[in-house]
């Protein structure tokens, strides 16, 4: 995989900035709208918890867990505490999306069941939906009636009507929920099902494992402006006859053991399922194009799916983290056909050539060189891998950053590369927790409940652990995680879907004095037939923010993708940390349509909305 350089070199070294003048820019700065208007700040709206107090909170310097105080009362159910079946171990995802188009991020959680029996008997659990009052206080909303053992969530404007929709995946279920009047309503005839009877409760007979979707990602594969859907699928599990104790029969049976302890069976020894790619028609319906879009499709126990422009050629590629199978780096040919180059790009296997248990994935420009990098979480005894984009493929930076030492005892799931503290450099956050309760037994080198962890990935090029405070203290396993600014202060917060436990809401007070800019990139409101075209919700658009003077000048790159981590969807807003800089020099946007726009600089402390062809359409001070 050789990297294209449409935008990558621009702005990441001072001389390269000069090249900007050579670009055919459509610098459209369509005037600045007057601030806010969009967000009201009620004292305490009915149903929301009492005001959590003004910022900053009483706990500066931490991601403070305020879930309960702020009304985020979700508690995960994921089978038995003993985890006797693999389905019980993977937990739920979480999604941030704007319900009601009021400018804030609301929260949806997937949910599991108390047992497979319950799933078969009742059809499963319902999603959990929480409305944000704009200040980061939540109240539960009525939930859609659809039931399943829900797993992964994806967000995006699937019907092009200007608001966020949701795709919910599950064990035997896959549903498009369109947003109507601020509520999520299942789209009939969405075309997501390969068969009409996937849900296990609809069968009632043995030998029919349903399609088990894990992470799902909305992105524009073919650049037609309509969001498409990648469905990561896991394995065949018969809910009426799950494997227990051993796999196989007779003298060649293999016991389901880990470090000498009896554990649930799988994924090794079970049958992996094929991932799918469905083309969106732009009206909330999809069509299965797996055979043509993924011509070399190989089943691989998919758990994590990350869309991003891996080769910098302007279209969206995919990284798929597979469990106990080689990972995939699916490079887009620009027309929506994908070819796996993971092995050649150096990201399929561990540094020792071993298949890893890939869980979650996140991307960002960690080393500020204008090329996206990414991180993959893995099993215990395996590192969270960090790969830097290079001229050809990716370079493994795991050992240089000390991440084998830092993460070897962790089994990590949700992962984010986000500038939480606003200093202009990324942090690595991972949600951790072992799949086996037996991890708490002697001599395993790990534990079942694990802390959520945060490392600074600064200019010293080492993973420096952030001291455990607030959200980072409890040793409670988590799975899904999502990042977004929930209280409008410009600092990205984090929601954790802990397993068999209440959710956590880490309000970001790491550095309230850091200067920040948040940017939302949107495609044109009125669609044309032109191709390539930017999706209305801006998926795939890239922003480069140029910051600093003279030798301090640097450029920060971010790409609008909501699928990140494990089974979860984060904010579409791009968060930039400026550190002590109070202004940014310019903003360059590369749209999926191919258009490049440059906007003049401005003050930090604002949320900017930029629409393709219209420039800046909203500037709003942080709360």
């Amino acid at each position: 995989m050789r990297r294209s350089s449409t935008l990558a070199p621009i702005g990441f070294a001072t001389p390269a900035l000069l090249r900007l003048a050579l670009l055919a820019l459509v610098a459209a700065c369509a005037g600045e709208s007057s601030p806010p208007g969009g967000i009201s700040q009620p004292a305490t709206a009915p149903g929301f918890p009492a005001a959590a107090g003004p910022r900053p909170t009483e706990a500066p310097g931490a991601l403070q867990d305020e879930a309960q105080a702020r009304g985020l009362t979700y508690a995960n159910v994921s089978g038995s505490a003993e985890k006797s079946v693999i389905l019980e171990a993977n937990g739920a995802g979480v999604a941030l999306l704007d319900l009601g188009a009021d400018g804030d991020l609301d929260v949806v959680f997937a949910q599991g069941c108390a047992s497979l029996d319950e799933l078969v008997r009742t059809g499963g659990a319902q999603l959990a939906v929480f409305e944000n009052d704009g200040a980061g206080r939540f109240r539960a909303l009525p939930v859609p009636p659809e039931r399943a053992w829900w797993t992964g969530l994806a967000t995006g404007d699937v019907d092009g009507d200007g608001d966020d929709d949701l795709v919910a995946a599950g064990f035997g279920e896959l549903v498009v929920f369109e947003q109507r009047d601020g509520r999520l309503v299942a789209r009939a005839g969405s075309g997501l099902h390969p068969a009409a009877d996937l849900a296990p409760a609809r069968r009632g007979e043995r030998g029919h494992p349903p399609a088990w979707a894990t992470s799902v990602a909305l992105f524009d594969a073919d650049r037609d402006g309509h969001l498409d859907l990648y469905v990561g699928q896991y394995l065949d599990l018969d809910p009426l006859d799950p494997p227990r104790g051993k796999l196989g029969e007779g003298p060649l049976a293999v016991p389901c053991r880990w470090k000498g302890h009896d554990v649930f069976c799988g994924p090794a020894g079970l049958v992996p399922q094929l991932d799918r790619l469905l083309r969106g028609r732009g009206d909330g319906t999809f069509e299965d194009h797996s055979a043509t879009a993924l011509p070399e499709r190989v089943a691989g126990f998919a758990l994590g799916v990350l869309p991003f422009d891996a080769d910098g050629d302007g279209d969206t590629d995919l990284f798929v983290a597979n469990d106990s199978r080689p990972n995939l780096l699916l490079v887009n040919d620009g027309k929506g056909t994908f070819h796996d180059v993971a092995r050649a790009a150096g990201v399929a296997l561990s540094g020792d050539g071993r298949m890893q248990a890939g869980m979650g994935v996140a991307s960002a420009d960690v080393n500020r060189d204008g090329v996206l990098d990414f991180a993959v979480t893995n099993f215990s005894d395996e590192p969270t891998e960090l790969y830097f984009g290079s001229d050809v493929g990716f370079r493994r930076m795991t050992h240089a950053y000390g991440l084998l030492r830092e993460t070897r005892s962790l089994l990590s799931w949700g992962v984010h590369l986000v500038d939480f503290d606003g200093d202009g450099w990324m942090e690595l956050l991972s949600a951790n927790g072992h799949v086996y309760p037996q991890a708490d037994r002697e001599h395993t080198g790990t534990s079942y409940g694990q802390r959520t962890t945060l490392w600074k990935l600064g200019p010293e090029a080492k993973a420096v652990p952030v001291a455990p405070r607030g959200l980072l203290v409890p040793s409670i396993g988590a799975r899904g995680s999502a990042v977004g600014d929930l209280d409008g202060d410009g600092a990205p917060d984090v929601v954790l879907a802990r397993i068999d436990a209440p959710a956590a809401l880490g309000m970001n007070r790491l550095d309230p004095s850091a200067n920040r800019v948040a940017i939302r990139l949107l495609g044109p409101e009125i669609a044309t037939d032109a191709v390539p075209r930017t999706p209305r919700d801006g998926h795939g658009a890239r922003a480069v923010l140029v910051v600093g003077l003279r030798e301090q000048e640097h450029a920060l790159l971010a790409e609008c993708q909501t699928a990140a981590g494990f089974q979860s969807a984060s904010t579409p807003w791009l968060h930039f940390g400026l550190g002590r800089e109070t202004k940014y020099k310019k903003l360059i946007v590369q749209w999926p349509s191919g258009r490049i726009e440059e906007l003049p600089g401005g003050d930090a402390g604002v949320r900017l909305t930029v629409r393709e062809g219209q420039g800046l359409v909203m500037r709003q001070a942080f709360r």
């Binding site: 051993k246 007779g250 003298p251 060649l252 049976a253 293999v254 016991p255 053991r257 470090k259 000498g260 050649a344 150096g346 296997l349 540094g351 020792d352 050539g353 071993r354 005894d381 050992h399 240089a400 000390g402 991440l403 084998l404 030492r405 070897r408 005892s409 037994r441 002697e442 001599h443 395993t444 080198g445 790990t446």
Partner: protein, 320 residues
């Protein structure tokens, strides 16, 4: 506990080698512990902590394996202190492994790289220990020095082609070939890596099956076939002997023993085993190929052709 281990280690330094009569037991324990490490079962070793601590002067290989088990169990401090200055080769190699797991590449190199002065670029601190080549190669690869890593790793796969880390070494060798633009060599090495990885995956599964069902001869036969495929005839024979001891009427094991004898150049024994196998189970297939090859090698062309025809009639697909 840590203090006790360290105190014990200090005493060991001053001790003589274990008595000769204990050597067989020591070798068996080393093999058992090595297998526990290879199969990711370090608790099995740590359960023998009392025995270990009671030893006045355990073999340094046992100390190294115990330290690796401690490390796998998350107790790096105890492992490191147990290894002490890690002067002996097994201790230094274990220390290097732990250092690599802690991303302490410079420390790993101090354990396995030859002293800077007077050393050839293409040797390692403990050239008689295959793992020294591997670990130094791995450290150099992780440090980004593929040029120095390559000959070390190549030497390792030459010296220890069936080592549990052989697939890893092949993988790094593929990267080395790619780094210097030799796509053809990378492709050849990738083929070796895949073969090695596949062999080890089967081997691991068969070992686990044999441990799970120690009275069952079938996993032993599987192990024998893997060793036979690797031309490791002594190891194959050992597994076949074990399988036949468990079930003297295990016809397929006798059949494979016939092929083993043929490969060992013991034609008479091979023929006797083949006859025995056919008496045991006239429906066997592979035995006819062995008989055909024996006849071919003895110049009995017609007999070879007839036996090979019987082999093909039974569905065999291999060439004579």
């Amino acid at each position: 506990m840590i203090a006790a281990l360290v105190a014990t280690a200090i005493v060991w330094v001053a001790q003589a080698a274990p008595p000769v009569e204990a050597a067989a037991d020591t070798a068996a324990r080393i093999a058992r512990w090595q297998e526990a490490i290879d199969l990711d079962l370090p608790p099995e070793i740590l359960r023998e902590r009392d025995w270990f601590e009671a030893q006045r002067a355990p073999d340094s290989r046992l100390v190294a394996l115990f330290a690796r088990a401690l490390h796998a169990a998350g107790d790096d401090e105890a492992a490191t202190r147990l290894l002490g200055p890690a002067a002996a080769a097994p201790l230094a190699l274990a220390a290097a492994r732990i250092a690599l797991d802690r991303d302490e590449i410079a420390l790993a190199l101090r354990h396995v790289a030859p002293p800077a002065s007077g050393a050839s670029a293409n040797t390692t601190r403990f050239p008689d220990e295959p793992e020294s080549w591997l670990l130094e190669g791995r450290a150099r690869a992780r440090a980004g020095d593929l040029t120095r890593a390559e000959p070390l790793l190549a030497e390792f796969v030459k010296r220890a082609p069936w080592h549990v880390d052989a697939p890893a070494a092949w993988f790094m060798l593929v990267d080395c070939a790619r780094a210097h633009g030799d796509a053809a060599e990378a492709s050849r090495r990738e083929e070796s890596r895949q073969k090695s990885a596949e062999w080890h995956a089967f081997y691991r599964a068969r070992r686990l099956q044999a441990r799970e069902s120690p009275r069952e001869p079938l996993p032993r036969l599987g192990l024998a076939q893997l060793w036979l495929a690797a031309d490791q005839l002594d190891r194959a024979r050992s597994e076949l002997d074990a399988a036949i001891a468990l079930d003297p009427r295990f016809c397929r094991a006798i059949e494979v023993l016939g092929e083993l004898e043929r490969r060992a150049g013991r034609a008479a024994e091979a023929r006797a085993r083949c006859d025995e196998a056919l008496t045991c189970d006239p429906e066997l297939t592979e035995v006819h190929l062995t008989v055909a090859r024996l006849a071919r090698d003895a110049g009995r062309t017609e007999e070879a052709a007839a036996s090979y025809a019987r082999y093909r009639e039974r569905g065999g697909t291999k060439d004579l």
